[in-house]
Symmetry: C2
Subunit: 329 residues, 2 copies
Amino acid sequence: MKKLVDSPDTVLAQSLDGFCAAHADLVVADADRRFVRRRTPTPGKVALISGGGSGHEPLHAGFVGHGMLDAACPGQVFTSPTPDQMVEAVRAVDTGAGCLFIVKNYEGDVMNFSMAADLCDAGIATVITDDDVAVERSTWSTGRRGVAGTLVVEKLVGAAAERGADLDTLAALGRRVNAATRSMGVALTSCTVPAAGSPTFTLADDEMEMGVGIHGEPGRRRVPLVGATAIADEMLTAIVDDLTAPVGTEVLLFVNGFGGTPLMELYVMVDAARRILAARGLKVVRHLTGAYVTSLEMAGCSLTVTALDAELAALWDAPVHTPALRWGR
Amino acid sequence: MKKLVDSPDTVLAQSLDGFCAAHADLVVADADRRFVRRRTPTPGKVALISGGGSGHEPLHAGFVGHGMLDAACPGQVFTSPTPDQMVEAVRAVDTGAGCLFIVKNYEGDVMNFSMAADLCDAGIATVITDDDVAVERSTWSTGRRGVAGTLVVEKLVGAAAERGADLDTLAALGRRVNAATRSMGVALTSCTVPAAGSPTFTLADDEMEMGVGIHGEPGRRRVPLVGATAIADEMLTAIVDDLTAPVGTEVLLFVNGFGGTPLMELYVMVDAARRILAARGLKVVRHLTGAYVTSLEMAGCSLTVTALDAELAALWDAPVHTPALRWGR
């Protein structure tokens, strides 16, 4: 296993300590590292809390800050956080306006966030993300998986929360954004969970996993590697056919690296995706490109398309100031 | 070769097209893709121009924008840009105050930027970066190599240029920042240049290249892989011994991913580096963590330390608004 770690047992703790030290102006973890929260809470604002297995950095802790999350609960690598983590996060960040849980659709995450909600006195609402069109059910999920589109939900709902929207409004917005968002991924290589020490799956030198999940779960099919444009075409055909947005719809295109793919290749995918979406009558008006929802060092990428309207575009443009995503004034 | 490309012949053009489309609010390329420049020039400001072989994205085009570069000239992968690229960039961005070339110390880059300077009527000054302490000369360089510290030079000089400093002042500042900066890298895997199609070098499953260059050039020694703290200790010992900063000096710590290393591991390195620097009496007061000066999909990282004073810290904090680096107001 070729990794920059001291031990699989300490990698999460050391990584969180490094993260919190590097971004001490923005975030702080509790003493037991059960959650990472904003250093400065906003009284009266609905608190947004997400979390899930680690190994997808910067998701979710990298999105804690103004305009996105109030807290994130990191599980061990590819393992759900436990309910006590979310309970403690709620205690730390709820200022009386309630908390919105944003949860990727994996059985462990959904169960543990649900248990946490039951244990809390605070008002809790939950948005489940399930943007992955690759498969209708998976190893770890009943129904579609929540993948990179979760970032879009966190960004748009986070902007609305900053403007003072109430819990019910934010939950409805989160479901609307999730419903307007579709993703699909492709893996060129596997990834290695530190505690396992060997690759999660194997791919031959000329193979790719089309529709892969963000833990290396199987996708639609394992096929010979083809060119970037052909890969983008297969993914976007699945996405656009499922999204059924009218011709002329304005969209956000999010090209997400899985951790081991150079930025140069992600921009090749941007170029290919723009051409394909234009041919389908969709107009790309916003972009996000980079490794934001990763699978350790997996090579490959996902494409996410969100159908925008004026409200969603304005929420996307709203200021955000987190360790991993920053713009606006 | 497992890459998201259509063809090695078109990867650079497609990638630049995707990049310019994704960041059309900030940058534009000329029709022949010889340079990427700011969409909106600032009259009367000294123009900062950098460039070099591609494959190190987001360096340099990702740093074109307010507070950093005015233009970047992308060569083919790991190949110097040609003098005509810089000549055309000068024509496009010089507004009469002159141009500063920021050039990494590789023979091809130094020669071609020098030829370009001779061909220009505009006032040109040049800063050569050579922050890599790993080796005193290398395959492609006479003297030390310019690596991730180049970003620090571009950021600090860029901030000073935005404040109206003149060409001589900026050139002197660039040399001062370079002199206050040291870097060293480690590779856990090789990388594959698209046009070559096979890895640049090979490492056994238990080996690392200590002191590797950003093109996969040999470093100090090839040794068995050890833990993150031991790796950080060897690199920082070389860096700190060479920097000879007084105990108590405040520093910027830049942990840079080479393209194939997860953010989780980079933060493990941050944690290790902070402990080691504290033991050496240096105080980390600024951080940058991420894949900013890459070597395609190479796994590994570099550590960069810059000794700060009040002026340099203020220049680091100054607003920057580029595709890859954004903060401030």
